[in-house]
Amino acid sequence: MKFVQFILKRLLHSILVLFGLSVLIFVIARVIPGDPARMALGPRTPEEVVEKFREDLHLNDPIHIQYYHWIKGALQGDFGYSILTKRSVSTDIKEFFPATLELMLLTGIIMSVGGILLGIASARHANKWVDNTVRVLSYFGVCTPAYVFAILFLLIFGYLLNILPTIGRLSPWLDHPPVVTGLITVDSLLAGNFEAFWDGFKHLIMPSVALALGPMAQEARITRSSMADNLQRDFIALERSQAIPERRIMSRFLLRISIIPTVSVLGLDFASQLGWAFLVELIFNWPGLSRYGIQVMLNKDLNGITAVIMVIGLMFLVVNIIVDIIVSGLDPRIRLGAERSQ
């Protein structure tokens, strides 16, 4: 019951946040210089055609009327017309979001598993060569932008070693599997096409690892730091005094409470990729939402800009809810704290 109340409360908060975000981004998008209608139709299109286009998109209406038209459509799943792709923004989102989501999922797995394992290893061997190596590598990881890794991987694995594909989601000689989720790996498995699955997975490796390294380094540092702090706690000393194996202390008792800050940051990093990934998508010619987002901004595609920002905002909200649920599961005191406050 408490859990249901928690979810409902968070959903209500999310709706309010999304509403506020939509108003903010709606206004900001219109501050960007440029006439979107003229930009979409080119300089030689007759003014009457441009004017009709402006009227069809409600660009001549007062901003609050424009917002009314937009929110009315958005509530029905229609985010308007994209002047960049010349079709419905909803269709764009449906096509491009799964590509970025697929990238994000593998990136999320790599950065969470890698970050936590490295953090544990580093904490367990604090101030020894393992710890020092992980810390030095973490500095590089945190300081180096993802696109630098992307370029390096492309040159090493795509060019020098020639063992991984360079661009796109699937090799040109393979047919795309029937779309169910939009994730090529999943759709291929559902269709029983293992060749396409493996090919799609290989296409994911370089961009995912490039995106994952920075956050992975950060999470390793946070995990290490948190575990190192908690290692000094009384209950650890108690467990050691009771001859509980060190491995069990680390994995069962220490990790559980130490991982909370990591999970929180992991959630933010995961959601942030929707915005960060555009350079990596550009380098690998990945047809994702992040790249689409930059293009709509550069072309002042008002509907596209608003929709992309809303999707990113929604992603943050959903991920935060999931993180809160996980954290409350990891630390009973947080759950208890919520109950006591009632």
Binding site: I32, G34, D35, P43, R44, V49, K86, G158, Y159, I163
Partner: protein, 551 residues
């Protein structure tokens, strides 16, 4: 010790997994039978892959940029086809006549042109195409403002009725890409902006074609690529080793292009590679640089109604001060120094237009005649360059240095394209100078003269000069309405003479588009002198040969 061994073992296993499972990235020797076009047993599938700047609109009523135009020439046919000398030759239209008053153009069509769905191309499709283009009003529609109506005389005769004479009309028909009416309307959404025509098939044509050209759409992924396959029933010509598959890839990232070319996954690279990237690509065995021009000119557009560039002598002083040789030798190597606002190779160019040259003595002489001489400190010149084209900054900084040699103070300002378009739409906000590339839309001087200097273009990014000169407008309109070609070109020359008198812009150079490509196994007519001066036509894949056996 155990742990080190364990970690090492895991690392080795993972590496072996990646290396083995990844393997060398090679295409299978033979594609799946259902994918490859019908070929003899020993022949391989020839592929031509080209990178382009995206997005690409394959709807002929929507797109007008380079990648879109390059796709049109492969997917569609036109009534007439451009020739290397700037003229046109019969294509779908076998012959044509013009009425004495120049207001009616009648075209007789071939009877053997098949669309990709197997139906035959008729005059109804031509009428539909023109009606659709002018109704939608986007893309190249602006070129047909004089077309009042289109009539179907019979299945293979179509007539265009103009509201006024339009000299370049025949030339502009290289941009009328003929669509299959039945197919388009069968796929049009009923809910759209165009009344009973619904959306006029716009959404469907984003990812499909309705053409009769040498290639048809096999797969179109909006953010990724356009894949076209050979149309076996094409009525026209295929070079013996023309590609079976043509792929336009939407990326211009230098690292990506370099990697793809190194792996022989790309035959022709885009023109947006930097000088350094081009040099790097040339080091790949077999790669050479193809240079081509489509009449695109680079200007310093000077505001003729804002101090100090409102003074004709001041403008002429700047024109004499700029170091054009350094621009074309160091910053944009391969570019051709301008001889006026129109490309020297274009029909209608005035051959006696003074070539842009640096002469500091003449610059000072002109400056001394200017009303701002002696007060130059009070009138700095603002030069705005487009942020998305980094090399423009170099030109702007060179100009700053050159102008300072004659005592003119300049400020160089980096401006994003969106802001440039906005400021150039307002006379008060437009700066003294904007550096812009402008491309002609049909292969005649009139295209550039109209789009650059007529009053209708003043509030657009194609003109910062704000000439607003009714006399010049009348000259341009009169020239364009002249049917007789020689007479029309003579009028173009008069317009250029008038422009030379007032020097509204610095004409720096004609852009040389450079495409790194595999000369070792790609025979590209555009590299051997048969360049067609209409954007996109050099990428007609049916005349390009890919010698896969030489790869």
């Amino acid at each position: 010790m155990k742990k080190i061994v364990l970690i090492s073992l895991v690392f080795c296993l993972l590496s072996a997994f990646v290396v083995y499972a990844g393997g060398k990235q090679e295409e299978p020797a033979k594609p799946a039978a259902e994918e490859a076009p019908a070929m003899e047993a020993e022949e391989v599938v020839r592929e031509l892959r080209v990178t382009f700047s995206w997005p690409t609109y394959i709807d002929p009523a929507v797109g007008s940029d380079f990648s879109s135009s390059s796709s049109f020439v492969n997917l569609y046919d036109t009534l007439v086809y451009p020739t290397p000398d700037g003229g046109v030759k019969p294509n779908v239209a076998e012959s044509w006549e013009t009425s004495a008053d120049g207001l009616t153009w009648t075209f007789n069509l071939r009877k053997d042109v098949k669309f990709h769905d197997g139906s035959m191309l008729t005059a109804h499709d031509v009428k539909f195409t023109m009606d659709r283009l002018t109704t939608i009003g986007e893309g190249y529609a602006y070129m047909y403002g004089a077309v009042e109506s289109t009539d179907v005389v019979d299945d293979y005769t179509v007539q265009f009725n103009l509201s006024k004479t339009y000299g370049p009309f025949l030339t502009t028909l290289v941009r009328l890409y003929i669509l299959n009416e039945e197919l388009v309307m069968a796929n049009a959404k009923s809910d759209g902006m165009y009344g009973d025509k619904g959306d006029y098939g716009k959404e469907w044509l984003l990812t499909h074609d309705a053409g009769s050209g040498p290639y048809k759409v096999k797969d179109m992924r909006l953010e990724e690529y356009l894949l076209m396959e050979k149309f076996q029933d094409y009525w026209g010509y295929f070079a013996p080793k023309a590609p079976d598959l043509v792929k336009f890839i939407g990326t211009t990232e230098a690292v990506t292009v370099r990697t793809m070319m190194s792996r022989r996954e790309l035959e022709i690279a885009d023109q947006w590679q930097s000088l350094e990237a081009q040099k790097s690509l040339q080091q790949i065995d077999g790669v050479d640089i193809a240079t081509m021009s489509y009449g695109t000119m680079f200007y310093f557009m000077m505001h003729t109604r804002k101090a100090p560039t409102d003074d004709i002598h001041f403008r002429k002083a700047l024109a004499y001060a700029l170091d054009y040789d350094t621009v074309v030798e160091k910053i944009f190597p391969g570019a051709i120094i301008a001889e006026g606002p129109v490309s020297p190779g274009y029909p209608g160019h005035w051959k006696d237009y003074p070539k842009s040259e640096r002469n500091l003595d003449k610059a000072m002489a002109e400056l001394k005649k200017s009303k701002y001489y002696g007060k130059l400190d009070q009138y700095p010149v603002e030069i705005h360059w487009i942020a998305e084209v980094p090399d423009e900054e170099k030109v702007a900084l060179l100009a700053l240095s050159n102008f300072s040699e004659i005592g003119v103070k300049a400020e160089v300002v980096k401006v994003p394209w969106l802001s440039v378009v906005e400021e150039m739409g307002n006379q008060d906000q437009s700066p003294n100078i904007v550096t812009v590339f402008v491309a002609p839309h049909y292969p005649e001087a009139g295209s550039m003269l109209e789009s650059r200097f007529h009053s209708t273009s003043a509030p657009t990014w194609q003109q910062n000069e704000w000439l607003l000169d009714p006399k010049l407008d009348a000259m341009i309109e009169d020239a364009i309405e002249t049917i007789d070609m020689k007479e029309r070109y003579a009028k173009y020359a008069e317009i250029q003479k008038a422009l030379a008198e007032i020097e509204p812009s610095l004409n720096l150079f004609e852009q040389a588009q450079k495409h790194p490509y595999f000369a070792s196994y790609v025979d590209w007519p555009a590299t051997t002198g048969d360049k067609i001066p209409v954007m996109g036509y050099d990428f007609a894949a049916n005349v390009i040969q890919v010698h896969t056996e030489r790869k």
